[in-house]
Each structure stands twice: as C-alpha cells, then as structure tokens.
C-alpha cells in the first residue's frame, strides 16, 4: 500500500468519528428506545465504541507506515 493511500484511509476512518457525534439532528429523538434508554442517549453511547474501533484501525494503519518519509513535498506528508 502506498503512503498516500494509507493516509487517505486514515482520514476516511477518522472522519465519521468526528462528524457523526456532531450531527445532532440525526439522533435528537426518543424513539426507538433500548433497555429503557431513549434513542438520544443510547445512540451516543454506541458512538463511543464505534469511534474507538475506527481510531484503533487508524492507529494500526499508521503504525506500519514506512519511515522515514518518502517525499517531504508529498501533500499527504502533512498528515503524518
């Protein structure tokens, strides 16, 4: 896997972990409830392990990234 592909995947993995919790409109409602928890609450609790899994996957990808950088002028270099 090339470095730029790797870092594109990292961003694609992390983006939902940042954006989903901020889209209040999709989860600010009571139904359906789960074990007595309104949707608003259990959905946000569900986002925690989801975000953790995405971040862990991103970490595994970055861990095996070859170093030193192949090309300092490569735009993906700014993500590393």
């Amino acid at each position: 896997m090339s470095s730029s592909t790797r870092w594109t995947i990292v961003v694609v993995l992390l983006l939902p972990a940042i954006v989903l919790p901020l889209l209040v409109g999709i989860y600010a409602r009571s139904e359906p409830d789960l074990w007595g928890f309104p949707f608003f609450f259990w959905f946000q609790f569900l986002l925690i392990p989801v975000a953790a899994l995405l971040t862990t996957a991103a970490y595994q990808l970055t861990k095996s990234d070859p170093r030193p950088p192949e090309n300092e002028n490569d735009p993906v270099e700014t993500l590393r």
């Binding site: 992390l14 972990a17 940042i18 919790p21 901020l22 889209l23 209040v24 409109g25 600010a28 409602r29 009571s30 409830d33 074990w35 007595g36 928890f37 309104p38 608003f40 609450f41 946000q44 609790f45 986002l47 925690i48 392990p49 975000a51 953790a52 995405l54 971040t55 862990t56 991103a58 970490y59 970055t62 861990k63 170093r67 030193p68 950088p69 300092e72 270099e77 700014t78 993500l79 590393r80």
Partner: protein, 543 residues
C-alpha cells in the same frame, strides 16, 4: 453531619495528604528548589503514568459535579460532554503527534515555545502564554466549587448570611490546595493520582450500577425524569413565557441543535490547548504512544456518560437541592451506606484537588518559562525559577478564587466554558503552525486579539436569572433571534477570518514574516531519530 461518613472522609483525606508530603521526600534526586524538580517531578515519568495523568484529567469535579448538575437542572444541552469526549480523540490523533515531534526535536516544553520558534514572534508567544494562564483560572475555579459543594452536603459550613462564614468550606479547600502544591510541586499530585483514580473508579462503578438498580432501573428513571420536567414546565408556564425561568428538557430541541454541537466541538478543540494537558501529552515516550492512547482513552467516555446521567438518577430518586451541583453528593448521601458515602466524598474532593494542583503548576511553569525568562530575568538561577513558579501557582489559585466569588457558582460548568472561549483563540497559531507556515505572524496576533475581545464581550453580555454578566456559554447566532451557539466557536470563527484576510495583505505589503526554526521533517520525527530528545528538558534548548 453523619459521623461515620465524616470519619471515613477525614481518614482518606489525611491519608493522601500524608502521602503527598511524603512524596516530596521520596525519590528526591537533587534539591526541590529548581523548576525541574518542583515543576516536572524530576521527570522520568513514563508512558503508563502519563496515561494515568491524561485519563485522570477527565475525571475531575467537571465530571462528578458540573456535568450531572446541568442534567439535574433540566438543561437540554448538558449531555454535550459525551460527544465532546468522543470527538476529542480523533482530533488528538491527527495533530498532537506533530506537536510531539517538533517539540522533542527543538526542546519546546510549552505551546508558547513552539509558537516563538515557528514564527519568531515574541508578542504572539506571549499572547499564547498569557491566554493559557488566564484560561486555566476558571478551570481551577470549577474544581474549587466542586470541593465546596461536597463539603456543604457533608454539613461542614453553614447557611449563615455572612458571606465569609458561608464560603468557609471554600477557603478551607483553597488553603489545603495551596499548601499542598506550594511545598511538593508536581510529584505529589502525580503520586496521589494513583490513589485518586482507584477511589474514583471504585465509586463510579458502584454508583452507576448500584444506585440505578436501587431506584428501579434506567427505564423507570427516564420516565420519571420526563414526567418531572413536564410537570415543572406546566407549573411554571407563566415564568417561562416571561423569561424568568428556563424550560426543562432531557434532550435539545431543534433550536438548540447548534448549541449542542458547538459546545461539543468547541470544548474538544479547546481541551488540548490547556497548558496542563499539553504537558501530559508531551511527556509520553514516543509519538505513536499518543495515537495508541487516542484509541484507548474513549473507554473513559463511557463512564463519563453514565456519570452525567446520575443527574437524572438524582431527579428520579427524589433528591431536592436548591443548588443543582449538590445533587450528586446528596444522591450518594441518600443512597449509600454512611461509610461508602464517606469514600465517595473523599473521591470527589481528592479528584478535584489533584487536577487543580496540576493545572496551577502548569500555568505557573508557563509564566516562568515564557514571561519571566523572556522579559524579566534572562539568566535566572534554579532557585529564582522555582520561587517564581511557586509564587505564581499561588497567584493563579487566587485568580481562580476571584472567579468563584465574582461569578455565579450555580453552574460551575460555565466557568470552564468561559476558559474555553479564551484558550480556543490560541488554536490558529498552534495547530495552524503545525501544518503550514503560510499564516502571517501579525495576522495570527490580530486574529487572537479580535477573538479574545469579541468572545469576552459576548460572554460579558450574557444574562442569567441569577446574574447580569457572564451568565452562560451561549449567545444567539448573529442575525438570528432564536438559534443559540457556543461563544467560543463564534469568536474562533472571527479569529480565523481575520487571519485569512490579513495574511495575504501583510504578505503583499512585504511585512517581515520572521525566521522559522523548524523544518518539515521535524514534524514527523519519532523517538530514536537524530536530534530527538527522549525527555524534554525545561531548562535547555530555547534558553
């Protein structure tokens, strides 16, 4: 006052106090009268302790007192603390490894060091340092309020009309904190952090499992709270229509969606601009450790969410307190056997004391390193530096006390959110600088000044039922009478616009951009690379 609860509380409190003062003697390498020893515990704290310190930063009076209080009071946006602590970790993942790398290659200990090295701008570095010190004060104030409400629920203090007698528990908490930090520096809170975290996890696990079970389960709790809030809204319909009371709700209405997400995003962006959290992150052993921790730390958010819901549990359990911040300690008093209530009180108070100590030390180091050494005494002795930091750590706590006494204590979370308004204005210079050198140093300075001024002005103008100024973190979006947003994000937007507009103008006018100490490869360097310092020396490099 319950004798058993009080006895257990005092026992645990004295135990950690003794431990704290003993820590000053334990593993003492040289004398305590240097900044290295006092301010950074002699360093040598590895990854594991750093993880504890960073994780422990999240469990403060903020989590135990301030957040549940907003839910207890029926503030529809109170649960924003959960998306806040979800969003913060991917953000850390992306930019903090770069800050780690450049700091470890150049020996930067504070964000202000980095800003000075990157932009060759002392005014900008000073602005970043002063903002860090200022913004830490209301955060410490929140911890003081947290200690105070626990002491009040325990029955220490009184309802006397004299403000001095009424605030006596606060002064006691303040004096203990001050004595503690002054004499032992960072090594005491670092050692006590283990005891603190053990106590806190014990109390959290018991509280979120045992109490909801006692009260009839989560379904019953949510139903009772909905009923209680809608009863309140019916009974107070006139006052709500007249703006004298706020309607209660368990989740944000359409109009509050923007308030909810801006509070979460603003807090997340602000958290790792605070001096104490930067210190924690930079003390990790390698840049990949930061990313690993970012994927492990969300486990904390789950418990934070359950703790926040204790505000609802208190409503369902029939806890009646006039100060919403007393709801969780009062819930513990009502539901726990006396001895465990004592353990819980001690956990909260120690859980507020430790971060308050760490925060005031980080702010004091910022002063000594970026202001005292830059302007007042360019070649100080170790003793002079340590004395500066000790005295300033006291002054920072006095500043915190002023925030507590001058502003309403009903919702201490507003204090922390006010700090967020200020600290967020340092983000363009710090995070922007990690990615690009395009921003002009004077544009960044102007953006910071504009954000600080407008943010403070907006916060000053917020009225609440209890005070005329600094009454809350939300204002109406410009050109809107109904949509509320977090002030920090508005001020930040202005800050960024000023930077983006002024940068091309200043560049076109040929205003000097300053020399850049750093090279692109500095931002990706890892432990083991050439010139990467395994541990940051607070007295070296940029001196």
């Amino acid at each position: 006052m319950n004798g058993v609860a009080f006895g257990v509380f005092i026992f645990l409190f004295l135990l950690v106090t003794v431990l704290g003062f003993a820590a000053a003697r334990w593993r003492r390498a040289k004398d305590l009268n240097s900044l290295d020893e006092w301010g950074l515990g002699g360093r040598g704290f590895g990854t594991f302790i750093a993880w504890f310190l960073i994780g422990g930063d999240i469990y403060t009076a903020y989590t135990f007192i301030a957040v549940p209080a907003t839910l207890y009071a029926g503030s529809a946006v109170g649960f924003f603390a959960v998306p806040y602590t979800i969003v913060v970790y991917p953000i850390i993942f992306l930019f903090l490894p770069r800050l780690w790398s450049v700091s470890h290659r150049h020996g930067y200990v504070t964000p202000a060091d980095f800003v000075e090295g990157r932009y060759e701008s002392r005014p900008l570095a000073t602005a970043v340092a002063l903002t860090g010190i200022l913004a830490t004060m209301p955060y410490i104030a929140l911890q003081l309020v947290g200690m105070q409400v626990v002491l009040q629920v325990m029955g220490i203090g009184s309802d006397s009309d004299s403000w001095y007698v009424k605030d006596l528990p606060l002064f006691i908490a303040f004096a203990v904190l001050a004595a503690y930090t002054y004499s032992s520096g960072l090594r005491a809170p670092a050692l006590i952090a283990f005891v603190k975290d053990t106590l806190i996890y014990l109390v959290i696990i018991v509280a979120v499992i045992y109490i909801p079970h006692q009260i009839g389960g989560w379904g019953h709790i949510f139903d009772t709270v909905e009923q209680s809030f809608s009863d309140f809204n019916t009974q107070n319909a006139d006052a709500i229509a007249a703006g004298q009371a706020s309607p209660k709700a368990t989740m944000p209405s359409d109009l509050l969606h923007h308030a909810y997400w801006t509070l979460a995003l603003g807090s997340a962006l602000a958290l790792f601009m605070y001096p104490h959290s930067v210190t924690g992150v930079l003390s990790t052993r390698s840049r990949s450790v930061i990313r690993r921790n970012a994927s492990l730390l969300p486990a904390y958010s789950f418990l934070l969410g359950l703790l926040a819901l204790l505000g609802f549990v208190a409503v369902a359990a029939g806890v009646k307190v006039t100060n919403p911040q007393q709801s969780v300690p009062q819930l513990f008093e009502d539901q726990f056997p006396a001895w465990f209530a004592g353990v819980a009180y001690a956990a909260i108070v120690i859980g507020a004391l430790v971060p308050a100590a760490i925060m005031s030390i980080a702010a004091a180091n910022l002063w000594t390193r970026n202001i005292y050494r830059a302007f007042i005494n360019r070649a100080p002795t170790h003793e002079q530096e340590a004395r500066q930091s000790k005295v300033v750590s006291l002054l920072v706590k006095f500043g915190a006390l002023v925030f507590v006494l001058a502003l309403s204590k009903d919702f201490a979370i507003n204090l922390q959110l006010l700090g967020g308004v200020w600290i967020l204005q340092t983000l363009p210079a710090i995070v922007g600088g990690l990615y690009t050198r395009w921003f002009h140093r004077w544009a960044l300075f102007a953006g910071w000044a504009a954000g600080m001024a407008w943010g403070t002005w907006l916060a000053y103008g917020v009225k609440s039922p209890t005070q005329d100024h600094f009454g809350g973190p939300l204002v109406n979006l410009p050109w809107s009478d109904t949509t509320k947003v977090y002030i920090a994000v508005l001020a930040f937007a202005l800050n960024v616009i000023v930077v983006l507009v002024l940068t091309p103008i200043l560049r076109a006018a040929g205003v000097a951009t300053g020399a850049d100490q750093t090279r692109p490869s500095d931002y990706t360097a890892d432990a083991g690379d050439v010139d990467v310092q395994p541990e940051l020396d607070p007295e070296g490099a940029t001196r």
